[in-house]
Point group: C2
Chain length 297, copies 2
């Protein structure tokens, strides 16, 4: 009977089976290459198990976020991957817990498992690299205040300084959005300081590129006058001039593992309570070098 070109109606199937075989990914900004590569990993494993991936981009706006969250309640999606660091209020119901997973950014107070790297350790490794090179006046171009990732990386920055008995100078940390212009502006402020830093640790490659731009515009060189370290290892990091020393995140794997974990949870498999911590990697390129007037390590 069912030969020719029969295809099941997934709407009816979903109604009957009470599952949509779709997941929603809520992300703060898709134009950032970081997120899109995680998304690629998600999509890849989802495809293999017949899951569809819905995206909820433009989601810095809480109203839009709530509208997206609604999708889980209406049954169009079976689960939600949260990459925006916030748990929409209507998803707070404990009965929904097993349908949710935080990705890249932990959601404090939610108790949700998270797939991510150890941001503190990663930042500490990056700053220790600078310290090892002989730098002592190291600035930190940080993310937006209130953000969990920003906080973790800042702690790592402080920890690396503490390891050599230094206290952080508050004037050397600048908070702001994870964007290129934000890096440019922060660097300008740092350069205007009475005693500018000899090295800068930036919390994203985009910011690092912005910082380098400002440094070059001021007639200084990288790493000659200032060393710069980024974070993420986006495609353009190795292609920039100079190629960026940065922390590589296993973006693709974060996506794959997150989707796998969510599927498990949907199937009733609890999995690790706190989620997964994946390894990062410090990629040393040419934007970091010993300081100009190196008074010994």
């Amino acid at each position: 009977v069912r030969q020719a070109s029969y295809v099941v109606n997934r709407m009816a199937q979903g109604l009957r089976l009470r599952e949509a075989r779709q997941v929603l990914v809520i992300l703060p900004e898709i134009s950032n290459p970081y997120f899109s590569e995680v998304l690629l990993g998600i999509e890849e494993v989802a495809g293999k198990t017949g899951f569809g991936v819905l995206i909820g981009a433009s989601a810095r706006d809480p109203e839009r976020e709530d509208q997206l969250a609604q999708q889980l309640l209406t049954g169009v999606v079976d689960g939600v991957l949260l990459m925006n660091g916030r748990l929409p209020p209507r998803l707070a119901d404990p009965a929904l817990r097993h349908r949710l997973l935080a990705v890249a950014e932990r959601i404090p107070g939610s108790g949700l498992p998270t797939v991510h790297i150890d941001d503190l350790a990663a930042a500490q490794a990056a700053v220790s690299h600078l310290v090892g090179l002989g730098h002592r006046r190291i600035a930190h171009i940080a993310g937006p205040i209130g953000n969990v990732v920003t906080a973790a990386r800042h702690k790592g920055y402080v920890a690396a300084l503490a390891q050599v008995g230094m206290a952080p100078d508050p004037a050397l940390t600048r908070f702001g959005p994870f964007a290129l212009d934000s890096g440019e502006m922060a660097m300008a402020a740092l350069l205007a300081l009475p005693t500018p830093p000899t090295a800068v640790f930036c919390t994203s490659d985009e910011m690092a590129i912005g910082a380098i731009r400002t440094i070059k515009a001021a007639g200084l060189t990288v790493p000659g006058d200032l060393s710069v370290v980024g974070f993420d290892d986006i495609v353009f990091a190795r292609a920039y001039d100079p190629p960026l020393t940065t922390v590589r995140q296993p973006r693709h794997r974060i996506g794959c593992d997150a989707m796998r974990l969510l599927e498990d949870r949907l199937n009733g498999i609890e999995g690790p309570r706190r989620g997964l911590v994946l390894p990062f990697e410090l990629i040393i390129r040419e934007s970091s070098a010993p300081p100009k007037h190196h008074h010994g390590a």
Copy 2:
């Protein structure tokens, strides 16, 4: 009766209404900032009218592509936005025509309306800019052979040369994928020529950045020794060293208009038969300048 926290079950609603209020976007690669920004526009408009956006990334692979196309047949999505330049065989049915729209890349032979820029004119404008600067030996780092966009931009390149009575030298056009390394390799080959070009028109900013990298690695400067022009105006174009002269595509608007047009089609409104041609803009920055030994314009 329906007070408290009642939410309609969209699965049942969809079954009854015979519509999913979801669209699928098939894209070749999401990590490319170009596509992600178009996607953002799509998502934005879709959100306003209550449509969900499913993504089909990893779709250079025809098998995966067909699997994705299946989604339309099974009724999970009402329409498909095709950004990969191909019409999956199972969607060739004329009855499905009004559920499809090509975006950015025309699909030859499909007769599908397309939302895009005039690639030929844009490439011609870019190359004419180089010609106007006094360049005569201009290379073209092109996209992959067989691609419609590649062909259109190549025609634009040829047309710009023809305007000053020049025939293109086949050795000066290098075809390859729209990627950074592809730009690097193509440039290396161009530099190895007996008479290297004095300017290069690249079919994407990523390729242009790759090309500049190779030029710098060879000890030459941009635009001192060679001028480079890109295409797309991604975020990093203005931040590169030197800032890239490039063709800006209205990516966000392409996404918005495409989604709007698709919704119209789903509602039975035919709309423009050939689709929409949106304006591009030549952004002149610092990677292009007159040739070193300028023997008059």
